[in-house]
C-alpha cells in the first residue's frame, strides 16, 4: 500500500530524467499514453519529433504539444511522387510547419524534410525565427532557389549542417555561397552536390578555410580538380567527401596536388561524386581506398570495366556501395571477393529502358550474396532474375532488413523456367525474419502475397507493381503483415473487394497508395464512410476530361463545387489514384482541385 502511494509522489524531475533515456520516438509515444501526468512530462521534455506524414497532424497542434522542440523531421509527398505519379502542386507544403514552429517553438535547432515543397519565403522565415538553428537537411524537396539558401547561410549564425540531397533547386547564380558571413566558422557538414549551376570557387575556398570543424563536404559538378585539391589541403580531417568534376590532365599541377592532398586525409571514410571521372583521377584515389566504408559511384558512368575493378579491389573495409549496372556481373564478382564487410549494396540502371544488352543479371547478385554474407540492405535493378538465384541469395544472406529488386521489364517471368517469381521472393520472406522493407517485381501471382502475408511478420513497407491476379493477393498482405505501415501499389488488378477487406487495418498504418488498379469511386466512398479517422483522397483526371469536353462545346460550364463531381451519379468510375492515410488533422485545407477528399 505504502509503495503504491509513494508512486504518486514521484517528483516530475525524476520521471523526466528517466524519460531522457528514451530516445526511440515510438517508446516516447508509448509512455505519453500511460497517464495525464506522464503525457505532460513527456511532451514538455520532448526534444525530437518525427512526423512521417505531414498531413497526419496539424502543424499548430504539433507545435503546441511540444514547445521545447529542438529537432523536427517531416515527410510530405507519398513515395511514388519520386516517380512522377503524383501531379505537381499536390501539396506537402513546408510553409505552415515552419510558421507554426516559428510561433511556438523558438528553440528549434534542426529541421529535416523529405519530399516537401519549400519556398524561399519559408527559408527566409526559418533563417530569422530560430536563433539557435543548427541543421537543415532537405531530401528530394523542391520549390526553392539559391536565394533561399543564401538567406539561411546569411542569417543562421550557428549553422552547422546544410545538407541538400537530390533536390530540385532553381539556380539563381553562384552568389549564395558568399552569403556565409565571415564570422561563420561553425560548419561541420555542407552538401550542395545537387546544385546544377556554377559555384563561386573563391568563396568556397574561403569558406572551407574558416571552417576548422568541417567533417563532411559534398561538392557539385561545377567544382574542378584544382579547387578540390586546394580544399583538401585545407581540411585534412575530412571524413566524408563528395568530389566535383574529376577531370584532370596527367601532367597538370591540379592532378599532382590532388594526389598529395588526398594522401593527407587520413580520416576519409566516405567518397561520392566522381562526376566525369577520368581513369587517371581514379588512380589518385587508390591510396585511401583501404579505409573507405562508404563509396557512391552511382553518378559516374565513366567508371566501369577494368577501371572499376582496379578501384574496388582495394576497398576491403567497404560497408556501403552504390554503383551503376555498367560495372556488370564481372564488376560485382570483384566486389564479392574484395568487400567482405559489405552491408548495403545499390545497383542503379544506367540505361533506363533496357534497350541495350543486359549488364547485370542474377549472376551478379548471387556472386555478391556468396561473397558478402553480412549484406542486409539491397537495391538491385536488373534485366532479369530467376527463382533459383533468389533462393540461393536468401540462403546466403538471411539478414536482409531491406530488399528491393526491380526487374526493368514489367511482368517478366523467370527466363530459365518461364514461371512467375513467386517462389524466389517467397524464399526471401521465409528466410529473412527481420525484413522491414520489400519491393518486388517481375511476373508475380497471388501466391507471392500468400507468402508475404504468412512469413513477413516484421515487414513495415511493401511496394508492389504489375503483380497479382485477384483481390485475394492484397487481402493476404493486409491480413498477415502485422507491422505493416506503408503499402504502395501500382498497376495491379486489386479492386474494391481488396480495398474493403479489412478497413480497420488502415488505422494501424501510416498510409496506403493505389494507382492504376481496379478500384472504383463507390469502393473509395465506402471506405471513407466506414473510417472517418482516415483521409481518403483521390487524384483524378476527370477534371481534365471535363475541361476538354468544355472546350469542344460538349459539356456545360461546371461549378467549382467538388461535390457536384463526386455526386453526379457515376460511382462506377474507376479511381486512377488513391491515397489513404490516418490523421488527427481532418481533411486537408490545402488540397488542390484535382485532389478530392471523400
Amino acid at each position: 500500500m505504502k509503495v503504491q502511494s509513494a508512486m504518486f509522489y514521484f517528483p516530475e524531475e525524476v520521471i523526466e530524467h528517466i524519460f531522457s533515456f528514451l530516445t526511440h520516438h515510438p517508446d516516447r509515444n508509448t509512455v505519453s499514453t500511460v497517464c495525464k501526468a506522464w503525457y505532460k512530462i513527456e511532451r514538455l521534455s520532448r526534444r525530437e519529433v518525427f512526423v512521417g506524414n505531414c498531413y497526419a497532424i496539424r502543424p499548430d497542434r504539433a507545435a503546441a504539444r511540444f514547445p521545447g522542440l529542438r529537432s523536427l523531421t517531416l515527410k510530405g509527398k507519398p513515395h511514388f511522387a519520386d516517380f512522377d505519379l503524383v501531379p505537381p502542386d499536390w501539396g506537402g507544403l513546408a510553409g505552415p510547419w515552419i510558421e507554426a514552429m516559428a510561433r511556438s517553438c523558438p528553440n528549434l535547432e534542426e529541421l529535416r524534410m523529405k519530399r516537401m515543397v519549400v519556398s524561399d519565403e519559408s527559408l527566409e522565415l526559418l533563417a530569422h525565427a530560430f536563433p539557435n538553428f543548427k541543421a537543415l537537411v532537405l531530401v528530394s524537396c523542391e520549390g526553392f532557389s539559391t536565394d533561399g539558401l543564401a538567406a539561411v547561410a546569411r542569417s543562421c549564425k550557428s549553422l552547422r549542417e546544410l545538407d541538400l540531397q537530390e533536390n530540385e533547386i532553381e539556380d539563381r547564380g553562384p552568389r549564395w555561397l558568399n552569403s556565409f558571413p565571415d564570422m561563420c566558422t561553425s560548419l561541420v557538414s555542407l552538401n550542395f552536390a545537387c546544385l546544377k549551376g556554377e559555384v563561386n570557387l573563391k568563396s568556397l575556398e574561403r569558406l572551407v578555410c574558416r571552417s576548422p570543424n568541417l567533417k563532411c563536404l559534398r561538392l557539385n559538378r561545377a567544382v574542378p580538380v584544382e579547387t578540390l585539391a586546394k580544399i583538401m589541403n585545407q581540411c585534412p580531417n575530412l571524413e566524408d567527401l563528395g568530389t566535383g568534376s574529376l577531370l584532370a590532365d596527367q601532367f597538370s599541377e591540379a592532378y599532382v596536388s590532388l594526389i598529395s592532398a588526398l594522401q593527407k586525409c587520413k580520416k576519409l571514410r566516405c567518397l561520392s561524386g566522381f562526376w566525369d571521372a577520368s581513369p587517371l583521377c581514379l588512380l589518385a584515389v587508390y591510396p585511401i581506398c583501404a579505409n573507405l566504408t562508404g563509396l557512391n559511384l552511382s553518378y559516374a558512368p565513366t567508371v566501369q570495366g577494368q577501371d572499376f575493378i582496379n578501384l574496388i579491389q582495394h576497398c576491403v573495409k567497404l560497408l556501403r556501395l552504390w554503383v551503376l549496372d555498367s560495372v556488370g556481373d564481372k564488376g560485382l564478382a570483384v566486389v564479392a571477393s574484395a568487400c567482405k564487410e559489405l552491408q548495403e549494396l545499390r545497383v542503379f540502371p544506367s540505361d533506363l529502358f533496357a534497350a541495350g544488352p543486359a549488364t547485370v543479371t542474377e549472376e551478379g547478385l548471387v556472386a555478391i550474396s556468396t561473397g558478402c554474407p553480412k549484406l542486409n540492405s539491397l537495391l538491385y535493378f536488373c534485366h532479369s532474375m530467376t527463382n533459383s538465384a533468389l533462393i540461393t541469395v536468401s540462403k546466403n544472406c538471411p539478414n536482409f532488413t531491406r530488399f528491393r529488386l526491380c526487374i526493368l521489364e514489367p511482368r517478366k517471368p523467370d527466363p530459365a523456367t518461364n514461371e512467375p517469381l513467386d517462389e524466389g521472393f517467397g524464399a526471401v520472406v521465409k528466410t529473412c525474419k527481420n525484413l522491414r522493407r520489400f519491393s518486388i517485381s517481375g511476373l508475380l501471382t497471388d501466391q507471392v502475397f500468400y507468402y508475404i502475408g504468412k512469413y513477413a511478420k516484421a515487414l513495415e513497407m511493401l511496394s508492389i507493381a504489375f503483380a497479382g491476379d485477384t483481390d485475394q493477393g492484397m487481402t493476404y498482405v493486409l491480413n498477415g503483415c502485422k507491422n505493416l505501415r506503408k503499402l504502395e501499389i501500382r498497376d495491379c488488378p486489386f479492386g474494391d473487394g481488396a480495398l474493403l477487406a479489412d478497413v480497420t487495418k488502415y488505422e494501424t498504418m501510416r498510409s496506403l497508395w493505389m494507382s492504376s488498379c481496379d478500384i472504383s469511386l463507390r469502393g473509395c466512398k465506402a471506405l471513407a464512410t466506414k473510417m472517418p479517422s482516415l483521409n481518403v483522397e483521390i487524384i483524378n483526371e476527370w477534371e481534365a476530361e471535363m475541361e476538354e469536353n468544355l472546350n469542344n462545346g460538349v459539356a456545360e460550364v461546371i461549378s467549382n463545387n467538388n461535390n457536384k463531381h463526386i455526386n453526379n451519379g457515376n460511382d462506377e468510375r474507376k479511381v486512377e489514384k488513391l491515397y489513404v492515410y490516418r490523421t488527427v488533422g481532418g481533411p486537408r485545407t490545402d488540397a488542390p482541385d484535382f485532389v478530392w477528399t471523400l
Binding site: F83, P174, K196, G197, F348, P349, S350, A355, A465
Partner: protein, 234 residues
Amino acid sequence: MSVETERSSTESDVSGLDYEETALTLGIPGGARATGAELERKRGFSRTVDLTSRIGASEDRSDESPDTNTAGSAKAPAPKARVVGWPPVRNYRKNALKSSNKYVKVAVDGAPYLRKVDLEAYGGYEELLSALQEMFSCFTIRNYPNEERKLVDPIHGTEYVPTYEDKDGDWMLVGDVPWKMFVDACKRLRLMKSSEATNLGLILLLLNSLLFELERRSSACFIIIFFSLSFLFV
C-alpha cells in the same frame, strides 16, 4: 509526291498554327489569344517537331493527329512501351545521368571573345539570363513590363537583347517559346546591341504582318514576297 502538295501542307501548317503561336511578341501583347492558344500550343509544338524532322517525307502529313506526330518524332528507337514512372528512378538521378550537355556559344556584340554555356544546366530563362549576367559581369537584367528581358550595361547604358540562332538558321528573340523547346532549337546565342535589334525587330514585324495578310492570297505570291523580304533582312 509533287512539290506542290508538300508546299501547300507546309504553308497551312506554318500560317495556321506555328506562325501565330510562335510569332514574335515585339510590342504586341498576346493576351487576347492566350487561353485558346494554350491548348493549341501543345499540338502546334508537336506539329513543329514533325515538320522539322520530316521535311521531304513522302506522305501527306496534314491529316495525322497530334498524338501520332509526337510519338513518331520521339528520339529513342524504344521498341518497348514506356510506362509512366517506370523504372522507379528519381527524376534527379535520371537527369543527372543524361549525358546531354548542350553547350552553345555566346557572343556579345563588342566583346573580343566568345563564351560557352551549357543550356541543360538551367531550368529556365531566368536562370540562363542570370548566368549570362554573371558571365559578362558588367550587365544587369532589366525587366520590361511587356515581359521582354534585356541585359543592360550600366556603365554605358547600352541595352543588349538576347537572341539565338535556331535550327533553321533564323535569329530569334530569346523568351518566346517554352524553355524546353528553346533548349532543343538553340544553336548559339548572341547578345545583340539593342539598337540593332530594334531594326531587326521592325523588319521581322513587317514580315509578320505582311505574311499574315498574304496567307489568304495565292501561295506562289506569298513565296515570292517572302524570299524578297528575306534578302532585305539578310
